[in-house]
């Protein structure tokens, strides 16, 4: 099945708004075994919208369109579509009633112009909008004069605001899709997530072992992002589930606990889950990551069961006064050193009373490096009652990536320590 997505909105092409619909919709479809073949963004003008629609109609069985259904003068997607497929628009009394009651419930008078949202192309079915006024529209095109052989197509239009689109998509559109356009072949996919490994290294290890499954229909993708590599297994065939399951087993057998989670998991969510399970409270002493590790951990619901204290000891004085790092150590070895990392982590454990602590000290750059300790040098230490483990890393990236990669390494060290896994490289 060929599915395309058209996002309308000039603001998307000016960079004023991020296109969050693409990833959100793609994810909903993927999770149900459907997938997008193509996505495009066009401005709010007639030629742009009609051009994109007529191109999509040449190829697609299902076209999803977002935006431009509202009441303002730049909301013309519905009109341009109706003109293109030559369907007259009729005012739906049911939709007018819905809009009227929407305003009534809010104690407001309905402006006459908002009833323009009740104009429905002939033959379309409305998806009522539980969180707004513009309905979604299910429009069958059978025959579809734009496509070779006039093979039928569906056009489905959604309002642009995410808080209106999301529930409409999930609760009304997806059940309709499953019933109206059921999958032809079984589909399975799984994403395994790793951190701290190289993309080529992962591929070289796994690919030979998965060759047989690839021949049986497995599709493998390696997606690398600043020190993280996702391994994506997809199959679309009668034994899709078995193939993907077997591929995942091969990966786990080979990589084991280097895989920290699947799908939506993040390093921080894996850490929070591990610490909640083991009832471990953690404390952080961040120098070069500047609070970013604490920020990521506290983004996870349930973090308050796990994160005890964080200290951002940016100034040397902070390391001395709050964490009790000795001035002798700072003078003799410098703030970025194994000795400082050690005293920081021990001081953090002591001043907080937590069970497990991490310290991070490094040179983010662009300046501050030396031959012995170039920009990107990081010392990290984890400590608990059983002792302290220190590593040295080199992350010579821009400031943002430096923080991201360093935080990943720190989160992974904490996760491994919390789970009692080996910390050697």
């Amino acid at each position: 099945m060929h599915i395309e997505l058209i996002n309308t909105g000039s603001e998307l092409l000016l960079g004023q708004t991020s296109n969050t619909h693409q990833a959100w919709i793609a994810k909903q479809l993927s999770a149900a075994g459907y997938s997008l073949s193509y996505q495009c963004t066009v401005s709010d003008t007639g030629p742009a919208i009609q051009g994109a629609l007529s191109e999509a109609l040449k190829r697609a069985d299902l076209i999803l369109v977002t935006g431009g259904l509202g009441p303002t003068s730049d909301d013309r997607t519905r009109d341009f579509l109706a003109e293109l497929i030559q369907r007259p628009l009729h005012k739906s009394e049911k939709v007018v009633e819905h809009i009227r009651s929407y305003f009534e419930r809010r104690g407001k008078v309905m402006p006459e112009r908002v009833t323009i949202q009740a104009m429905v192309p002939e033959g379309a079915t409305c998806l009522m909008n539980a969180f707004g006024t513009a309905p979604g529209l299910l429009i069958p095109l059978d025959p579809n004069p734009f496509r070779e052989g006039e093979k039928p197509a569906w056009i489905v239009m959604f309002p642009g605001p995410p808080r209106e689109l999301h529930p409409m998509f999930r609760d009304q559109f997806m059940p309709w899709l499953n019933e109206t356009l059921p999958l032809e072949t079984p589909f399975a996919y799984r994403i395994l997530r790793t951190s701290g490994l190289g993309e080529s290294w992962v591929e070289e290890r796994l690919s030979p072992k998965l060759q047989g499954l690839v021949e049986a229909g497995l599709d493998i993708g390696y997606c690398a992002r600043s020190g993280e590599v996702d391994i994506r297994f997809i199959a679309s065939c009668s034994d899709a589930d078995a193939i993907v399951t077997e591929a995942a087993e091969v990966a786990y057998e080979d990589l084991g606990d280097l895989i920290y989670g699947e799908g939506e998991a993040s390093l921080e969510s894996a850490l929070v889950a591990a610490c909640r399970e083991k009832r471990i409270k953690i404390a952080l002493a961040e120098s070069c990551t500047g609070g970013y590790i604490a920020h990521r951990i506290t983004n996870v619901p349930g973090a308050s069961d796990v994160l005890h204290t964080g200290v951002v000891s940016y100034a040397n004085e902070a390391k001395q006064r709050v964490l009790q790092v000795s001035s002798d150590t700072l003078e003799k070895h410098g703030a970025v050193s194994e000795a400082s990392a050690r005293e920081m982590v021990v001081g953090t454990l002591k001043c907080s009373g937590a069970d497990l602590a991490l310290s991070v000290t490094g040179i983010a750059g662009p300046s501050g490096g030396s031959e012995e300790k170039p920009v990107g040098t990081v010392f990290m230490a984890v400590a608990d009652s059983s002792g302290t483990h220190i590593v040295r890393k080199l992350n010579p990236y821009d400031r943002e990536t430096f923080k991201f990669v360093t935080a990943n390494q720190g989160l992974e060290m904490l996760r491994r320590k919390a789970l009692g896994l080996t910390l050697d490289e």
Copy 2:
């Protein structure tokens, strides 16, 4: 000039990765007077990439392509393009050398397969990758056989990782664009940034005063995002510079120090600049923002001159042990209270020895609210040797937005305190 963007990557169509390139690239182009006419996302396959390229080549003067230049088996964008436009690929020794030294600097052996990234289509110029291995490619197509009249086109390919693409785009591609495909009419663009004001309030104040400039060609945009309002002035005409300069003067006269910066300025960069100027060292005590304020401040180059200490006092025990908040206060008023915010800020100032401190304590939700203190309630305090100032806010949003809005309010309080501006609402 017709510019199109093609984002390649099956992960984008599966919803595993958000397409951040679209908004980022669109913004860079807009700020320089260029604009995107069309954007699309295609999978990593040959038919998809070649189909999108040949469609774009029918219409566009400039086609930007992201992704698929890396060393793994699904990185085939370069090959598919070369095949489509019938250009042989040659190995560039300069690029091989760049990749080799990239690995050497990291003390790693270069795997042979990564040199595939040095394959360059005939006639292309390389943009060296300062933060990775795959070069960008500038490829002239003159004549362009895909377009009516064979009007020439440029195809520019960028590596997918943002930390590689961003500097390459900004530092190499934009200067090339300005020189190779200059704008036809003068263009001026300025964004003034405010925080904590309402969009309608700003618009109602400024619009009447700017009416004359609008008639002369000024385009005004008000862009609101979670508690921030940007005022965007654009002109594209012979006296564009003068018009935009005058508009900015009108805005400064009216809003004064409510404008914290321009363009890429952020609240945190404005704060760091203010504190550097006044030689003020700051300390933070974050509870509900969980290190996010420290993270934002330490994203700013030069933050080490300003940020002294941050404490993420997530657990009550952290508030007591590190910040010396009394158990009596926590018991009687709760951790989210004016009294706790006061003791936190005073404790932070004392334990760190900084000049100026901020404390933040609140209820992020979704649970934990009460009738007296609903979800979203925040107490914030700033303190220096002259005394303490406390405010109460209500930010009833999802976790991420809550952190963002609360951090903005805290950063703006610190900025105003550092500059000696009034803190009253």
